[in-house]
């Protein structure tokens, strides 16, 4: 009988673009393994257009943070009206409760949302929105961030664990609708290539690759690749960085360097990335977006970015991970990579060679990792690196995994 009951699930992902893209495996596995009759997604309103491109998502609910801020501000002076407005909004957004909310975030807001919209919460908040106890996978994630062990389970696979499903074993792709690009950008990807999308920013300055490095990288790439082209990817706020990169570029870049920063919607950005063979940048949303539309990723990971947790998802991506600069950073602060201002040399020539000639090399201060995929999810391997791999991922899964109980959900629904 349980199979006859309509099971309605809601994935709650209120973090940023990168986290939304990293949720794709969990959503794919929920559809394949949990056999939800309806699976919806709740994500921040600015990301709703990307949410709509995720296969297996029936409806995307856009969470409008600004509205909540406004209501919070107004509550004292117009409490009754505020509550009425909220209820009207919630009724339109979520007409009926879900059987299960799959909460992928650890902050209070997500736990509260999950409790509001569903009778049954999986993931953080599964024992109530005020609880401090984390489910096993969420506790693991917190431990990884603290200890930064090697060979750990990737964030996207932890999301699967939080939902009570196994990783899908493949890297899911976004299904982009037919998308018109600004006319001057429509020729990108139409010539031989390779075409490389350079993600110029990363929000926080500490996570950004310096402009001079990008200038040098592009110059070297265009020299090394006869038919290659580069497109700069970024938001409106990153246009200045794009101008800075183009400033002083030689005539070599004429007709081969395109600036798309601040000129495309998120879906258009994804379409543009899908026209490129490669996407290169630090650990950012657009880098992960690129992998989700078929581009191969070349990551520069430094500071707090760790390839084992948030490396590009899928097979065949490359990541340059900056090594810790001191014993202190390697121990007291986990295995955190060098800060951007501590990096003396960047793997510019080495990464260009990888793209143009598919030849891997070494660079002082960096480790080059290649991504692989198996039934336990994504993992990273580095040639010539002999390190304690830590607890095998298989063991981690056996230790932490609590398969989703469909009966429990059906019972809740009944």
């Amino acid at each position: 009988m349980p199979d006859e009951i309509v099971r309605r699930g809601l994935v709650v992902q209120l973090a940023r673009l990168g986290d939304l893209v990293q949720s794709l495996p969990a959503i794919a596995s929920l559809n394949a393994q949990a056999k939800m009759a309806v699976l919806d997604l709740l994500c921040p309103a600015p990301l709703a257009s990307i949410g709509s491109c995720i296969a297996g998502i029936e409806r995307v609910l856009a969470w409008e943070v600004e509205r909540w801020r406004l209501w919070a501000d107004r509550w004292g002076s117009a409490r009754e009206e505020t509550f009425t407005e909220i209820e009207t909004y919630l009724k339109m957004l979520i007409p009926t409760l879900y059987n299960a909310a799959f909460n992928l975030n650890q902050h209070s807001r997500s736990m509260l949302v999950a409790a509001l919209v569903s009778r049954h919460v999986l993931g953080p908040g599964d024992h109530g929105p005020l609880t401090k106890d984390l489910p096993p996978w969420a506790g693991y994630l917190r431990g990884v961030v603290r200890n930064r062990d090697r060979n750990r389970v990737h964030l996207a696979d932890v999301f699967c664990g939080l939902c009570g499903v196994m990783p899908p074993g493949t890297a899911p792709r976004l299904q982009l609708p037919p998308t018109n690009l600004p006319e001057d950008l429509s020729s990108i990807g139409t010539t031989e290539g390779p075409w490389v999308a350079v993600v110029v920013g990363a929000g926080d300055a500490a996570r950004c690759v310096p402009l001079a490095i990008w200038r040098e990288w592009i110059r070297m790439f265009l020299s090394a690749s006869r038919g290659g082209g580069v497109v700069l990817i970024g938001s409106e706020g990153e246009r200045e960085r794009a101008y800075g990169i183009q400033d002083g570029m030689s005539s070599l870049s004429l007709g081969r360097l395109w600036d798309a920063t601040g000129r495309t919607t998120l879906v258009q950005t994804a379409a543009l990335l899908s026209h490129c063979q490669w996407v290169i940048g630090s650990d950012t949303g657009p880098l992960h977006l690129g992998t989700a539309v078929g581009a191969r990723a070349m990551g520069f990971y430094f500071a707090q970015a760790g390839v084992h947790e948030t490396g590009p998802y899928g097979e065949g991506h490359w990541t340059w991970q900056a090594k810790p600069t001191s014993r202190r950073e390697a121990s007291a602060e986990g295995r955190e990579g060098a800060r951007v201002d501590q990096i003396e040399r960047w793997p510019i020539a080495e990464s260009v060679r990888l793209i143009v000639d598919e030849r891997a090399g070494q660079c002082d201060g960096w480790t080059l990792w290649r991504s692989y995929l198996d039934r336990w999810g994504v993992y990273q391997m580095a040639e010539g690196v002999l390190e304690d791999p830590g607890e095998p991922r298989e063991d981690v899964w056996r230790r932490l995994h609590r398969p989703l109980s469909l009966k429990a959900l059906s019972h809740e629904y009944v």
Binding site: V65, W68, R69, W71, A72, D73, R74, W75, G76, S77, A78, R79, E80, E81, T82, F83, I86, S108, R109, L112, V113, A115, L116, H127, G128, P129, L130, T131, K132
Partner: protein, 605 residues
Amino acid sequence: MSMFEKNLAVIVARDPVLATALRESRGGAFNIIAARNGQPTATVAGRALHSAYDPRREAEAWATAQAAVCRPGEVLIVLGVGLLYHIEALRARVPCDTTIGVIVPDLNELHDVCMVRVLDSWINHVEWLWSSIERVASSLAAMNAPLRFLVYAPAAALHASAHADLERLIRQHVSARVGGQVHVAVVGPIYGGSLPIAKYAAAALEQLGHRVTWIDHSLHQASYDAMTRLKDPRHRATLQSRLADLLGQLTLARVAEDPPDVVLALAQAPMTLPLLEHMRKKNFVTAMWFVENYRHLTYWQQVAAGYDHWFVIQKKPCEDALRYAGAKQVSYLPMAAAPAIHCPLPLTPEDQTTFGADVSFVGAGYANRRGLLPRLLTNEWAFKLWGNEWDGVTSLAGALQLGGARIDTDTCVKVFNGTKININLHSWTGEGLDPDGDCINPRTFELAACGAFQIVDDRTLLPDVFTEEQILTFGRPDDLAPLVRQWLSDELGRRQMADAARQRVLAEHTYDHRMRQLLTQIGVSQPDRVGAILQGERQASALMERSDAEPELIPVLAQFAPQERVELKDVALRIRKRGVSAMLSREDLLILMLDEHRMETRDLL
């Protein structure tokens, strides 16, 4: 029947007195012409009050923008009559139970409207406030609802003075009965004359029952001074600028940890434009009391646009200059005294000997003082000079007390009390008297509060705060010594004038008064936020009374004392205190959710 008569027939049904008054008015206030689309439009002295192309569409755009900011329960007061296109459009855009009042300073304008526009029945769904400004202010202040003022600028500009009077009168009425507890963060400077003013303001706010977070940057004066001693001016400027930036961040951290309703900075507080813009993004209400002469200290130009409210001690052209620089709300708020500190003080014989004199002056050695005060050196009376920066004025060396040291407030008060005639000469860097002298220094109020007799140089704004029976002024340097001579022998006259001045200060010019006026002004501008708090609408008792629609909240509210202010965070805290395993209702979850969004102010840094 003419258009005028038809319109009057509509009005008379609801307000026959207004209809009669309109019939008796002459009209002719506006020059009526046809807009391009044929609708009537109006000009006054060549200035258009409505669009010359499509007055109705223009009015609709205005009304749409205004309606978007209005909240349920507010009374909307429109300044600016014109041909009423904007009123008609506004009436159509706000709920029918929203009261709209229109201030009509000149009935001839309404007469002109009736002559050229067909006024439908909507005109009877508007309150026409056409009696004297005093009566209008009184009736508006008595309303038991928040007022929101909407300005239709082209028409309102014709009566700017009347509108300013109205605002001032309403403020007076409202400030006399405000009671709620506002949380104000007072941000002081690192050092300087505005530092004691900041402390007086903070003390006054507490005295009025508000909650104050005192952000005291004077703690860092030693570091600032250490930088002053650097020889290279570039090092000095760079490091002092960085210290100011750091203290700005410290201010942010303080307000983030305990978010106030209002951030009140005093002149010279280390607040930069980016910092203020950051605060605005986080929805903080900011105000600056610029207790300096805007002509002397000009850094206001850099931060004018950053504050939501400016309070200044000068009127025009200071107010205009600030507005031109980007300030949104500028209000006149003169200096004041703190009667708990500035008060009559019986002196011991020893103190009288030390601090007393026939004639005294307290202050720093500005150029005008250096030129004028030597005229008081005479055998006819004993003259004492107190204060610093008097180097090089050899003629005054014999009168200078304490070796020209800077003197503290206690000493000031003793000098004021022990002196028969206190000279109060406003600072100026030129010779003689400041030809632009308008603002009144704090000393004027402090001397008066001490019950001390003073002679002050003439200031254009002085008649606003003291009468000739309360303060003696002089308009030319040559007049000072004769006045001293005349009043030194008139002890009774001095006493009467000083007593009258003290009574005026106690009645109208204390920091309590100023802070009440300041908060009321902010409250009037923001009826839904600070205004509602001042009206006591956030107190537990008031919330209980309005909890009919949400009975679930009554048990929560009952946990608070009736006069205790209850905010979202307080209710959320009570819910959290029930423990992690407590059963949460939907209302509980919503309150916690709202509180999570409120707490984003903590992300300020």
